[in-house]
């Protein structure tokens, strides 16, 4: 049986914020608590890819999945969805008051400790980057902390045999395909067609009630100790505005608008190219 650890994060839908919402408080936080939550899209890909492995293996070997997230109570709804999708064990680490937005080293330490002391996975599959922190560090750090190799920009995985995975990843100048032995961290990039499947109500009722183990940051002393001394300390935040003139072409029909665009704005520019 192949054991997979899937750390994932839940993110506020940043595109739902309007321009005036991009203000921050004295402790340099943007209030996103009023925004609906969603899967981090890279993590969503990782979760779906892990489920696809079972379809591809067609029962010839099986997978054991741990889902782990660091977040508040609203994340439980997402963990319940994973329970209904037959993930085997579900864990949530409550960060309490700690601001972990730009602290990938703390998250990575939690994941690594969880892997070493509890889950002992063969592979760790996770998205490359979070939407809020944009750190793009966590999977790499997790690999370093565990002393494991890391494959980045993973876009496809298939089972090779009971202990190995066939991994496709984007690399500079092309695509790499390789067969990977455990243990390894797989950092998932832009993987097409990996929306997370939706569990049926019956599965939700049958499997969705599985208990979620909630832990605290204090349960991970090696992570907690990092909190007080960040290597990179946030000093300021500035909203980014990228407005241009936005002159509207007005005409009765789309054909006329296209003509105006070509005649008045593109023709000259194209000739100068």
């Amino acid at each position: 049986m192949m054991k997979l650890l899937l750390p994932f994060s839940i993110t506020p839908d940043l595109e739902a914020l309007s321009e005036k919402d991009w203000v921050f408080t004295s402790d340099l936080k943007v209030d996103t608590s009023f925004t609906p939550l969603d899967w981090n899209s890279f993590d969503e890909s990782a979760l779906e890819m892990s489920l696809k492995l079972s379809n591809q293996a067609e029962g010839s070997f099986c997978f054991y999945r741990y889902a782990l997230t660091v977040g508040e109570m609203p994340c439980d709804r997402f963990l319940k969805t994973l329970a209904a999708l037959k993930f085997d064990e579900l864990f949530r680490v409550n960060p309490g008051d700690a601001d972990l937005r730009f602290r990938p080293e703390v998250i990575a330490r939690i994941i690594a400790s969880f892997a070493q002391t509890y889950a002992h996975p063969d592979f760790i599959l996770m998205g490359r980057q979070k939407q809020v922190g944009d750190n793009a560090c966590t999977p790499l750090l997790t690999a370093e902390l565990l002393g494991w190799p890391c494959v980045t920009q993973v876009i496809e995985i298939e089972p090779a045999d009971e202990h190995r995975l066939r991994v496709t990843s984007a690399v500079d100048g092309g695509t790499a395909v390789q067969t990977i032995s455990a243990p390894c961290v797989l950092s998932v990039g832009d993987a097409p067609c990996t929306y997370l499947r939706v569990p049926t109500l019956k599965d939700k009722m049958t499997y969705g009630k599985k208990a979620i183990t909630v832990m605290k940051l204090e349960d991970f002393p090696e992570a907690e100790v990092l909190l007080s001394s960040p290597n990179a300390e946030l000093c300021s935040l500035t909203p980014i505005h990228r407005e241009r003139e936005g002159v509207l072409i007005e005409a009765d029909t789309p054909e006329e608008k296209a003509e105006i665009l070509y005649r008045d704005y593109l023709k000259g520019r194209l000739e100068r190219l």
Binding site: S33, F34, P36, P74, Y195, V198, T200, L201
Partner: protein, 483 residues
């Protein structure tokens, strides 16, 4: 049924409207053969309905009259359309060689009468544009359905639309002052704009909600109201039982308060929008009060007092509700994204809205939900909310999602959607509610018209026969086609 061949119909229409206004592009015709009732077929671009002979753009009431007269003479089925946001099959071209008459180019606001507080516009005026324009001047139509970014005035009146602030402003039937409509024989009728009159039956209501099955609406005048968003008060609560929630709604209405929004979400439906503050398993109650500051404040205070009597209800930070409020509507962007998700996950979400008096609404909600869970395969979510309350009852907006498993697009509607609709309608009829609260009967629910109307079906049937004797107006809508 049409007495002409497809080519002759197109020729005749070109003679009336000019070739630039008669569209016969294959893709346009296909996309005009259905609406969001067949959402999965739309997503898969599979077209099971007869493809219309043409889509025509009309620019004036006279043109509408000429097209209708032509159709009436040659018995061509006409499907009136404006914003194309219908979701109950009202825009399906159910008969061969139908003609879709699109009024979206009749998009002029004719008169903003701020003294008499009414606005007159042509049928193709987008509600969003109208309301944005009014709001800039400090006014509003008070009408804000979720389809606001798509819908246009003619279609809204034709389907007896209702907006999210209906508990204060009422449904469209409470807003329409006067109308102009064209009947199949080409007769143009105008109903004048007056505050009220006692001159026989209110004939506006023959036109409002006719769903294009009696006449073509070309112009509407609706009331306008002062727009004072600065006075809005938001309130939100979580609670454990839907039954309690209905009791709270009833108390608020019975005590005589008029919040603009009074909503109750069950845990499944609420979980999709409110999981960032409501724990799993919690129902959510939402109120907003608006209007002059003194009224908004008094309304909010009164509602708070009523809810406080129900110890089960726990207040939430009103900012959550304010944020939710600013993202209510459903525009082209959301539809594009939804389409993508359906394609990728084969998981689709649909709604059915019904109503019932206070003494039966909970049973309708509870029994329909349980039956759907037991009887429909591959369901991934069934929930609902009440969003429009009255002194004597409220509505229930069922929301359901299912995975489409081993099912070609053309069979989806019967395997899932119609099965769920049937269960909901059966439970509603059993407990004495109405099977359609604000989406219209369309063609999706037309075959329940006899159960819905009972003995009063005689009146609807007589109207149809009197105004549309040749049967050319949106056949299959309101009254089902004979198989």
């Amino acid at each position: 049924m049409a007495l002409m061949k497809r080519e002759q119909i197109v020729e005749g229409l070109i003679e009336i409207l000019g070739s630039e206004n008669v569209i016969t592009d294959e893709q346009v015709l296909k996309e005009s053969s259905n609406d969001r009732y067949r959402k999965y077929e739309q997503v898969c671009e599979v077209y099971t309905q007869p493809i219309p002979a043409a889509v025509v753009y009309v620019h004036s009431t006279e043109e509408v009259a000429q097209v209708l007269k032509f159709a009436n003479e040659y018995q061509i089925n006409i499907v009136p359309r404006t914003g194309h946001s219908a979701i109950e099959g009202g825009l399906e071209t159910a008969l061969e060689n139908s003609v879709v008459v699109d009024g979206s180019k009749m998009n002029k606001v004719l008169k903003v009468d701020k003294y008499n507080m009414q606005v007159t516009c042509q049928c193709g005026v987008p509600l969003q544009d109208l309301d944005d324009m009014l709001q800039e001047q400090g006014y509003t139509t008070g009408h804000s359905p979720q389809s606001k970014p798509l819908a246009q005035m003619g279609g809204l009146v034709a389907t007896r639309s209702i907006g999210q602030f209906s508990t204060l402003y009422g449904g469209i039937e409470d807003m329409v002052v006067g109308l102009e409509a064209v009947f199949p024989n080409g007769k143009i009728c105008r109903i004048k704009n007056v505050p009220r009159r006692s001159v026989g039956p209110d004939i506006r209501n023959i036109i409002i909600g006719n769903e294009g099955a009696l006449c073509y609406i070309t112009e509407v005048t609706v009331k306008i109201f002062k727009y004072r968003p600065e006075n809005n008060c938001f309130m939100g609560y979580t609670l454990d039982n839907m039954k309690t929630g209905f009791e709270v709604l009833r108390e608020v209405m019975v005590e005589g308060y008029k919040p603009s929004i009074a909503r109750l979400y069950d845990p499944a439906d609420g979980g999709m929008s409110f999981s960032h503050f409501a724990a799993p398993g919690k129902s959510v109650l939402i109120f907003t009060a608006e209007g002059p500051a003194a009224i908004a404040e008094a309304t909010a205070a009164g509602i708070k007092e009523i809810v406080s009597r129900f110890t089960e209800c726990e207040p939430v930070d009103p900012k959550y509700i304010e944020k939710w409020f600013s993202h209510l509507n459903w525009g082209a962007e959301q539809i594009a994204q939804e389409r993508e998700e359906i394609r990728a996950t084969k998981n689709i979400g649909i709604t059915t809205e019904v109503s019932g008096c206070w003494d039966c609404i909970y049973e309708i909600y509870d029994t329909a939900r349980k039956r759907i869970m037991e009887e429909v395969p591959d369901i991934t979510l069934i929930g609902g909310h009440s969003s429009h309350s009255y002194i004597n009852g409220t509505n229930m907006y069922f929301v359901y999602y299912y995975n489409i498993v081993d099912c070609p697009p053309e069979e989806e509607i019967n395997k899932y959607h119609n099965l769920i609709n049937q269960i909901i309608c059966e439970q509603v009829v059993k407990y004495g509610g109405s099977i359609a609260h604000h989406h219209g009967l369309g063609k999706a629910r037309a075959h329940y018209v006899h159960e819905e109307y009972g003995s009063s079906f005689y009146m609807l049937d007589t109207l149809k026969k009197a105004f549309d004797p040749n049967g050319i107006m949106n056949m299959g809508t309101l009254i089902p086609l004979r198989k």
